[in-house]
């Protein structure tokens, strides 16, 4: 596939919402081990609200749609994930203002911009045991994968899932998990896991 349409990108959000809903308890359990056990509830509250918003008022262009997603996440998720994922989608919105469709190059460049916003806000680097650990290699993989969106998003999704699993042995240096010190080792990071779900949903949509 060469292009993702506004319709397909909306479908990406809906598919993500469904995946978050399905995995809400699993995400909260991961967070209970090294955080405060609310990541699943926070994310599903946010994406439920996003789904309502998008269904109520179909956006006219990709930028407007991503902006709605970002604003809604910021005002409903709370916690650390709210501003981070919210800012991520606001950034995607800025990059795609007025657009009706995206090609592979644009897609990977805007995801890179969104990731940059997360790193700016959260000051986390790769290895700090956060969502950055899943998003960074995934975005790299996508950029290398070339112009077929189906292949590129699949590469990103697979990389993200592996990278999320690889956060388990890490010592947390950011977020609540860092309060646990050594005790944070041996548990997979919930935010990295939800980021993997986000990219998996994108790959699914792009495969259709």
């Amino acid at each position: 596939m060469e292009l993702l349409s506004l319709e397909q990108l909306r479908l990406w959000i809906f598919t993500t919402a469904a995946a978050i809903e399905q995995n809400a308890n699993a995400l909260s359990d991961l967070d209970a081990a090294i955080g405060d056990g609310d990541h699943g509830a926070n994310m599903s509250r946010g994406f439920t609200a996003v789904t309502k918003k998008l269904e109520a008022a179909p956006s006219t262009d990709v930028g407007a749609m991503f902006k709605t997603v970002g604003m809604t996440l910021i005002s409903t998720v709370g916690g650390a994930a709210g501003p981070l994922y919210g800012g991520f989608f606001l950034e995607l919105g800025k990059q795609t203002a007025g657009k009706q469709e995206l090609d592979a190059a644009t897609l990977s460049s805007i995801l890179a911009a969104g990731l940059a916003d997360i790193k700016r806000r959260g000051k986390a680097e790769v290895g700090d045991k956060t969502m950055v650990d899943a998003l960074t290699p995934a975005v790299d993989a996508m950029q290398l994968a070339g112009n077929d969106i189906t292949a590129a998003t699949r590469a990103a999704a697979t990389t993200a899932r592996d990278a999320a699993e690889k956060t388990s042995p890490l010592l947390a240096r950011k977020g609540r998990a860092s309060y646990l010190g050594e005790r944070s080792i041996g548990h997979q990071d919930p935010g990295a896991t939800s980021s993997a779900l986000l990219l998996e949903a994108l790959a699914e949509v792009s495969a259709k």
Binding site: D36, A41, I74, V77, G175, R176, R183
Partner: protein, 333 residues
Amino acid sequence: MKKLINSPENVVREELEGIQLAHGDRVRVSLDPFYIARKDAPSKGKVGLVSGGGSGHEPMHGGFVGLGMLDAACPGHVFTSPTPDQMFEASKAIHGGAGILHIVKNYTGDVMNFDLAADMLREEKIEVASVLTDDDVAVQDSLYTAGRRGVGLTVLMEKLLGAAAEKKMDLAKLKALGDSIRATGRSMGMALTPCTVPHAGKPSFELGENEMELGIGIHGEPGRKRVPMAPADQITEMLMEPILSDLPFKRGESIILFVNGMGGTPLIELYIIYRKAAQIAEKHGVKIARNLVGSYITSLEMAGTSITALRADDNLISLWDAPVNTPALRWGI
């Protein structure tokens, strides 16, 4: 999970409705977005004090809204920091023209959400400053962590800044006072039991009959380490010694000593903790100028305690003694 609730989704809304019904003489509750404001706010020329954080720490913060303390509090969902729109609306609602001071506990989520709210307020040409609390000595502060957690000191911070704001201290001075309180207060906590977040439905961790968690935060998370159960006097030492040596508090200094219950601990036990804490302070030659004993910053029904010590000069003591009239803290009026 056994709780006096109707459903996990409605806990915060129904609590707020109860607060409105019980304390409508003093506070005004907004349900969209969630916040609790002083009924008599805004007060012209007074800096507006706004705090907030996840719910489950009651009476903090909503119970501290009133004369001589907070102008508004923003409750998030249980243990989840509130969102920028709540802080934005609450701050606008109580703004008396002299600017807004946000009192923020140092958690990644709280900090980022308050930052977003501050940006929104500045776009409306409202002056905003913020004060952090990061008093938990159980967490090592370093460039490689999220820094120390804000815990018990937050209660004292809100009382003291509230008194100063009532005296019409300006925003810059309030911010400076808050920073000096931040620099001279230390806390540490422990838990005998976990707590259960309503929407999680199961305890935040498992703990054996002869174990306790040392160095906990206020979100039901496990502590820095799990240690064998010990008598109250030893537990008090495990909390007091790190607190006193961290700043350090020096011989001859005066402090405000705050012994806090985590929510499920009966008052009778808190006085047993206070007894030993006072003896330890005495042994170190530290004078307790004022004290507070009770459950003011909690983790739902968790059983446990935290201790906070704050260096207190005459100025701080007079701010502490100043009248306060909130649902949870009241004296002098």
